[in-house]
Every structure is written in C-alpha cells, then in structure tokens.
C-alpha cells in the first residue's frame, strides 16, 4: 500500500499531507519566534533607563533588506502561480529571482551589516563620572526634553590595543555625530540617513569606564537579542534558499516533467515557509531598527 493523499486532497479535510505538515511546522515556528520575541519584550521592559540603546542600526540598509525580502515573497508566489499555469520558463525566472533575493539579503547581513557593527565601539561611563563627560552625553539636554539618559559614548576606537594593554590609560574614540553634538536636537532621534562620523576625538579615561566593548552580542541585551533573532532568522533564510535552489536546479525541477502538480505543491509548501520568514522580518525590522 502506498501513502495516500500526497498530491491529492483527502476529501474530508480538503488538504494534502504536506500542506498540513508545513502548517504544523509553521505553528511550531510561531512558538519559536514567539519565545524569542517574548524574551525581547521581557528584557526590554526590564532594562534600566538608558540601558536599551536606540539608533545604532543602519536604517537605510535595513529598509533595503526589508524591500528585498518582500520582493522575494512576491516572486515566490508568482513562481508557484506559474507552475499552476504550467509555464515552466516563467517558473524558472521567478524562482531564480527569489533565490537571488535571498542570497542578497544574506550577503548584506553577513558581509556588511554585522561586520560594520563588530568594528563600532562604545564605552559605558561609570555612574559617578557621567557629569565629567557631559559634553559627549548631553544628559542635561536629555533631561530637559524628557529623554532617557545617555550612559554610553560611541564611535571608532583609535587605539584598539587599549582594550588589552593595561598600561594604556585611556580610550581614544573618534566620535559618532550623536556623541560629538549630543545637545543638537538632530541627535534626539536616530537618523534615517547614516551621518558620517565627526572629526572630534574624545579621550575617555579607562577608570571612568564601566565597560568598553565593540558592538558584539555581549555589548548589551539589545545587541544580544538583535544578533540572536537576526541570526536565527538568517538561518531560516539560508534554509529557504537551499530548498529553493534544489527545486530550481534540474535535480528537483525535473519533477515537473513527471508530475507538474507535485512540483507546484512542493513550491507552495516551501513558499509558505518563505512567507513566514518574511513575516518574521516584518516585525524584526521596526522593533530593532526603528523603535
């Protein structure tokens, strides 16, 4: 006996097997990302004032990546529709674009966004020395405007050896615009277009510093959640790209000759997964980049 309802729908449920399977899998994915997002909420609520950084991510790049993912969602549904209409060439084109979008998304993330963060430096000032660095923090201005206090000075570390060499007593930081002119109203909110770093170099004494680190996951719970969620999301994108590539290359696409409907079903199932990945990103983008 063969396993029934692989491509045909079972009359009473109206569904074929893999369709139920993928939705169950997606339900578990909802719970997975639900766990991560509820952690995000919990940690963000728990963060002391000033300990949840804002505006450290590159908004234009993030927006671009969002657009790329959305575009890929459109093309994958078009690829499926093409199969349904038995237009194999169109399917190949749309699927190719989808794969390309996924690869670009990953490339931007792994070769641009993340490494850019890994080179960015921040020094958290000890609570009793905040006043000393008022010129870089602008807390008087922030208090007047009712904004969260600033406790971190960010920029490019000019003397990275200071992180390991105990004889070097201070960090030389070429400041970000926000630390160079903290009282400027333009610094109150994150910038849409990345502002070039200022020419100003600050000398921050090590003994005034609570913690100094690049923008690694260890930097703060913000970056911890950012890297974990986008990392896991990236892994999903990678998984999707691999599956799509399999369906695009002859090894998977040849199924079309034997049973086009079966290939269409497979693409639909993989597409559902891809849309879900897109859907997660729709929440990731505003939560981390904008708000």
């Amino acid at each position: 006996m063969e396993i029934p309802y692989e491509t045909t729908a079972r009359p009473d449920t109206g569904l074929w097997n893999a369709k139920i399977g993928i939705w169950l899998f997606l339900a578990s994915e909802v719970m997975l990302f639900g766990g991560l997002f509820s952690s995000y909420i919990f940690l963000r609520l728990d963060a002391l004032p000033g300990h949840w950084p804002h505006g450290l991510l590159n908004v234009p790049v993030g927006t671009m990546n969002t657009a790329i993912l959305i575009a890929s969602s459109v093309t994958v549904v078009l690829a499926w529709a093409a199969l349904k209409m038995r237009q194999f060439t169109r399917y190949k084109i749309y699927m190719g674009i989808t794969i390309l979008c996924g690869v670009i998304f990953l490339f931007v993330k792994l070769y641009f966004e993340w490494p850019d963060k890994f080179k960015h430096f921040g020094a958290f000032i000890r609570e009793d020395r905040l006043e000393k660095y008022e010129a870089y923090l602008g807390n008087h201005h922030a208090a007047e405007k009712g904004l969260d206090p600033r406790i971190e000075i960010t920029g490019h570390l000019e003397n990275p050896e200071a992180l390991t060499d105990p004889n070097i007593k201070e960090y030389e930081v070429q400041l970000d615009q926000v630390s160079a002119a903290p009282d400027d109203p333009a610094s109150d909110r994150p910038h849409f277009w990345q502002v070039p770093r200022s020419e100003k170099v600050a000398h921050i004494e090590k003994e005034d510093v609570e913690r100094a680190t690049y923008f690694l996951p260890t930097h703060s719970t913000f970056f911890a959640t950012y890297f974990t969620i986008t990392g896991l999301h990236g892994a999903h994108v990678l998984g999707g790209v691999i599956v799509f590539t399999y369906f695009w290359l002859p090894i998977g696409a040849n199924l079309y000759k034997r049973n086009p409907e079966h290939l269409a079903n497979r693409v639909e199932v993989a597409g559902l997964f891809w849309h879900f990945v897109d859907l997660v990103w729709i929440f990731v983008f505003p939560l981390f980049y904008l708000l």
């Binding site: 006996m1 063969e2 396993i3 029934p4 309802y5 692989e6 079972r10 449920t13 569904l15 097997n17 893999a18 139920i20 399977g21 993928i22 169950l24 899998f25 339900a27 578990s28 994915e29 719970m31 997975l32 990302f33 639900g34 766990g35 991560l36 509820s38 952690s39 919990f42 940690l43 728990d46 963060a47 002391l48 300990h51 913690r211 680190t213 690694l216 996951p217 260890t218 930097h219 703060s220 719970t221 911890a224 959640t225 890297f227 974990t228 896991l232 399999y246 199924l255 497979r266 199932v269 993989a270």
Partner: protein
C-alpha cells in the same frame, strides 16, 4: 517537505501490493536500509523503543550510583567505585568515594536522560510510531523520511549527551532544569574546553532532541489527520491514538520556546551575552564583565513553558496504553470514552497555562500566583475524570490478570498517589514549605516511575506479539512485575516522609548533617530512611533482569501466537504479525467504535472494528441507544 515520498514511491511503483511475508519482496532491501536507515514506521518505532529502554536503564543506573552516596555518604563504593573512577575519569570517584561534582552530574543527567532520552522516546515515539499507524489502518506515517530523520536526530542528541560524561569536567551539573545563572557559569574556566564541556554539550544535545520531537510531532499529527482508514471517524479512534495526538500537539507547541531559550543560553555561554545574567553578578569574588540586564526568571518561564506540558507528554501516552489494555482485559468497553477524549483535550489545553506553579519561590505577585494556582487546581479535574473512568471501567468486568494487565492496573493507584500528592504543591502557601524537598521528588516519581514506566512495560508486553509474532513469558513477566511494584513503593513512599521532614532534594550527603531533635518517623530519621530506599532501588535494578532476558529470549524463542492473541478489537490486530512493509494486505475499513467487547447477540466476546455491522449488531446498538435515551 515530501522529498521523502519520491523514493519511497519509486521503489514500489513497479509491482503490485505484495503478498504476506516480506520475504517475497522482489528486491530485498540491504541490512542497512532495512534496520538502520529504515523509513518503515515499525522499524523506527522499534529503534526508538530499544534505544529508549537502554537509556532508561542507563539513567536508572546513574540514580543507583547516587543512592550509594545518599545511604552511605563519603564511604567508598566497593569494587564498582574504582571501576567508575577509571571509566568516567579521575576525580569522579577518587578512592571509590563520590566527588560532589560527579554527584551533581549524575543528578542532572539522571533527570535529562530519563525524561528526554527514556520516556519520551519510548512512550511517545516508540509506541506512537509502531502502534498509531497500525491502529488507524495506515500503510505508514505520512512523511517516512522525516520520520527517519527524527530518529537520527534523537540518536545523535543522545550520543552527544553520553559524550558529555567524558569531556574534561564531566557532564552538566546544573540540574535537569539548567537554571541560570548557575548553569551559565558552570563548566567554564580553567580545565574546561570552551565547547567540549558538559553544559554546552547538554545544550547542543538538547537542540537535537527538540528537533527530533518536533519532526515526530508534525508527522504524528498529519498521519492521524490524513491517514485514518475509511470509516475511522474521530470518535472511533482508540483512546491511545487520541492520547498520542494530544501529546504530539503539546510537543509541537511547547518545545519551541525552550529551543529559543536554549539558543539564548548557548549565546550566554559562547558569546558572553546576558540573556539570563542579572546585572552585577559576582563569581568567585570577582565581578563578571558582562552587560548584565538579563533575567534568570526569564529562563524559568521559558523552561517551564515546556516543562509543564512535558509532564503531560510523559503521562498521556501512558494513559493511552493503559486504556487499551484495560478494555482488552476487562472484556468490556472502556467506560466514558467521550469524557476521556474531552478530558484529554482539556488537559492538553490547560497544561499550557499552569507552568509558573513551578516558580512559586521566584517572587511572583499575588495576581500571577492566584492565576496559576487557579489553573493548576482546575487541571486536576480532567486528570481525575480520566482516572475515575479507568477505575469504573474495571467495575463488573471479568478481568484477565495477564502481565500487561498487572502493570496496567498497578498504574491506576500509583498514578493516583502521584496525582493527589500534587495538590498540596499546587497551593502557593503549602509549596513554600515543600518546594525542592524529597516530597516533590516522591510526587512526580509516582507519576512517571510506577505510573508511566509501568504503562510502558504494560505496552511492551501487550504489543510484543504484534512486533514479533511471539508472546513474552507470562511467568517471567510476573517475576518482573511483583518485585518492581514492591520496590517502587519502598523507594518512593518514604520520600514523602523525608520531604515533610524538610529534607532538600539536592543534598550531597543525603541529609546526614540535618539534625533536628526527635525528628523520627516510624523509628527512623530522615537520613536513616535513605538506607531502605537505596536497598530497594538496587533490588529494583535486579528485578529488571528477568525483563531484559525475557525480552530478548522471546524474540527468537517465545511462544508463537496468531495475529490477535489478546482477542482485541482495534485495527492493529487485523494486520499480520509482524506486519509487512505497508502493514495491511488490503485497505481496512472501520465500521464501529474501538472497544466492542461483549457485544450482545455475538458469539465471541470481542468484535473487531473492521467487522461489518450485522443484523444482530444493529439491534444491539438500537437497544443501547434506547437505553441511553431513557
């Protein structure tokens, strides 16, 4: 997703449904394809079963070792002690005396192995894989290759857990719950590898086990929804299938948040993040250089979000097995089938919103406590409905006490004790005193040890003929049963007393140093009770030997039986024993409910689900409907 199906269908496309024995198969599968990388649900079920039983015994052995330290703290374990010191590395049992770290490892790994490598694989995956497709009249699972992947993920996860015993520093020590921040700072620093250390391997192994469970759950649910035989409506499903269906949903939806938490703990360990690390933590006198701002409570929430449904993952399949065996051996329909099903569904639903009753001591406010206390007390209702229905099912039956039935009936009072002793723990005020004492240990072990594990044994004895075509020895089954029952109770009953004497569950010296004047129960102090308990535990280890021998001996030498040796009604007994690849010779159709025993107007006292309705049946059903109407 169903890349699986292609190959499978290809290999069969050429020939018609084959005849009885697998031996007539045109192209014989190689040994590897047939037994190791098999996609047949029955082989996978047996793989799960045997590896799970081995893990169960291994996990139990860890506890038998710990029982030595608890009964005779600081004394050298003769012969075995030095052997173990060689095996698990110097420092585990120097001079045969158990080192504190090794004791902690054993405790953490006992819990992990018993639950995730023992009971879940056997009760859920093994029985589910082997029995469910047969009971619903399906040729296989819907996704055979995913099924194979599920077992392989489980297997690799289990191997990683085992490897963790042999890395520098030994296996994980943070308890089976891996509470943070302890779990994050343990197994770190000098003498430990960054990756190859107990706790990190525990996390990595766990990710694989979760993956395995998720793949299994998707497969089970789809199979039950899609592959039910013609006529097998939802209310004609055996209760066992319902139990597996609900269990699969629990695994599917409760495991992923823990997976998220495990990824986060892995980040905490490997990338020095602070998901679960609070601000200002000082370790060994030095402040940690971390961002802080994390929350240990968050770990507990995510852990227990799985942890509590997991309790029902452990018990529901057991209940399902017991239901089948009770109906079969009382020779009458299960009492209250519908209430059982709905109680099971309610149980599954509620199990998702009771988890924080494991966290009474974390400083929750009254609002939260009141919420969880209420839901926890409510969840006892469906449990009581299920147990009551089982007890009432016994009423007026002419019971056959064969080995499966002995284990199944023993399940009832044992589960009852475990359940009822849980009620004081549901209440915040009582739990403040009992939390983390031996009382808790006794409570949940009554549910899973003489509860689920007895159900598992019952299931092994019951379905063994279906898997092999031979029956296990009744005599040796009884030799296995009676000592096990007695030992279980000698082990766990005194633990209630120890707990009420407020003995903490994690004491390395067995409570030797805990002296309170006149704190003796039945002539022994809390610490002194350890000795009889330990002796009973070792005796129980010995009592498993008849089972092991019986099991392997019966595969080749057991009494040969026909396809339906228990004269049961459900569909799996309509298939040949052992069922060939594809299970049934021709499609089966279900005409009636699952427990048609002693149907009036019939000569035999059982009527299989696949027997068409006769005229006398119709009259019997009408009479029953009339009766119900009045």
């Amino acid at each position: 997703m169903d890349a699986s199906t292609d190959l499978a269908s290809h290999s069969h496309a050429g020939h018609e449904p084959h005849h009885h024995e697998g031996g007539h198969d045109h192209h014989e599968l190689s040994f590897w394809r047939k037994y190791i990388f098999s996609t047949d649900h029955k082989v996978i079920g047996i793989q799960y079963g045997i590896s799970g039983l081995i893990f169960l015994f291994f996990g139990f052995s860890l506890m038998m070792l710990m029982r030595w330290q608890l009964a005779f703290p600081g004394r050298s374990l003769p012969v075995l002690g030095n052997l173990i010191n060689h095996l698990f590395g110097a420092g585990s049992m120097p001079d045969g005396k158990m080192a504190p770290d090794f004791y902690n490892s054993l405790g953490a790994m006992h819990g992990t192995i018993m639950i995730f490598l023992g009971i879940v694989p056997v009760a859920f995956a093994a029985f589910g894989n082997f029995v469910v497709p047969l009971q619903i009249g399906a040729p296989d699972m819907t996704f055979p290759k995913i099924n194979m992947a599920s077992y392989q993920a489980f297997f690799v996860g289990g191997i990683i857990m085992l490897i963790s015993f042999f890395v520098p520093g030994g296996a994980a020590k943070g308890g089976w719950t891996s509470y943070t921040p302890l779990a994050i700072i343990s197994d770190k620093g000098p003498g430990h590898d960054v990756f190859w250390n107990g706790q990190t391997l525990w996390l990595v192994g766990f990710i694989l086990l979760i993956t395995s469970s998720l793949l299994g759950a998707v497969n089970f649910i789809t199979t039950i929804i899609q592959l039910r035989a013609k006529g097998l409506t939802w209310m004609r499903l055996p209760f066992f299938v319902w139990a597996q269906f609900i269990t699969a949903f629990l695994l599917l939806l409760a495991f992923p948040p823990l997976e998220a938490a495990i990824v986060m703990q892995l980040m905490d360990r490997l990338a020095a993040t602070s998901f679960f690390m609070p601000t200002g933590l000082v370790v060994n006198g030095a402040p940690l250089s971390l961002s802080g701002g994390g929350s240990p409570i968050l770990w507990q929430h995510l852990f227990w979000f799985l942890g509590h449904p997991e309790v029902y993952v452990l018990i529901l399949p057991g209940m399902g097995i017991v239901a089948e065996i009770l109906a079969n051996n009382t020779r009458k329909p299960l009492w209250g089938y519908k209430s059982l099903v709905f109680a099971g569904l309610v149980l599954g639903f509620l199990s998702f919103i009771v988890w924080a009753h494991h966290m009474w001591l974390t400083g929750m406010g009254q609002v939260v406590s009141a919420f969880f206390q209420t839901t926890t007390v409510i969840i006892s209702i469906p449990s009581v409905i299920i147990l009551s229905a089982f007890f009432i099912s016994l009423w007026g039956g002419s019971i056959r006490f064969n080995t499966p039935m002995l284990f199944a009936t023993a399940f009832l009072p044992m589960f009852g004790i475990g359940g009822l002793t849980g009620i004081p723990l549901a209440f915040n005020s009582a739990d403040l005193y009992l939390h983390d004492t031996y009382y808790v240990i006794a409570h949940f072990h009554y549910i899973v040890a003489p509860g689920t594990i007895f159900a598992v044994f019952a299931g092994v004895y019951y379905w063994f003929p279906k898997a092999t075509g031979r029956r296990m020895s009744e005599f040796w089954g009884k030799v296995h049963f009676w000592p096990s029952l007695i030992c279980m109770n000698v082990i766990f009953l005194p633990m209630f007393l120890q707990g009420m004497l407020s003995m903490h569950r994690r004491w390395y010296d067995g409570g030797q140093g805990w002296n309170l004047a006149n704190d003796k129960v039945w002539g022994l102090s809390g610490f002194e009770w350890n000795k009889p308990i330990s002796i009973a535990a070792w005796t129980m280890g010995l009592a498993q030997i008849p089972f092991i021998i019986n099991f392997f001996w019966s595969i080749k030498r057991g009494e040969k039986v026909d396809d339906n040796p228990w004269e049961a009604t459900t569909l799996e007994w309509a298939a040949p024993s052992p069922p060939p690849h594809g299970n049934f010779d021709k499609p089966v159709v279900a005409y009636r409910g699952p427990y048609e025993y002693s149907l009036p107007g019939r000569e035999s006292d059982f009527t299989m689900q696949c027997e068409p309705i006769s005229e006398s049946d119709r009259r019997a059903y009408e009479a029953a409907a009339m009766h119900a109407g009045h």
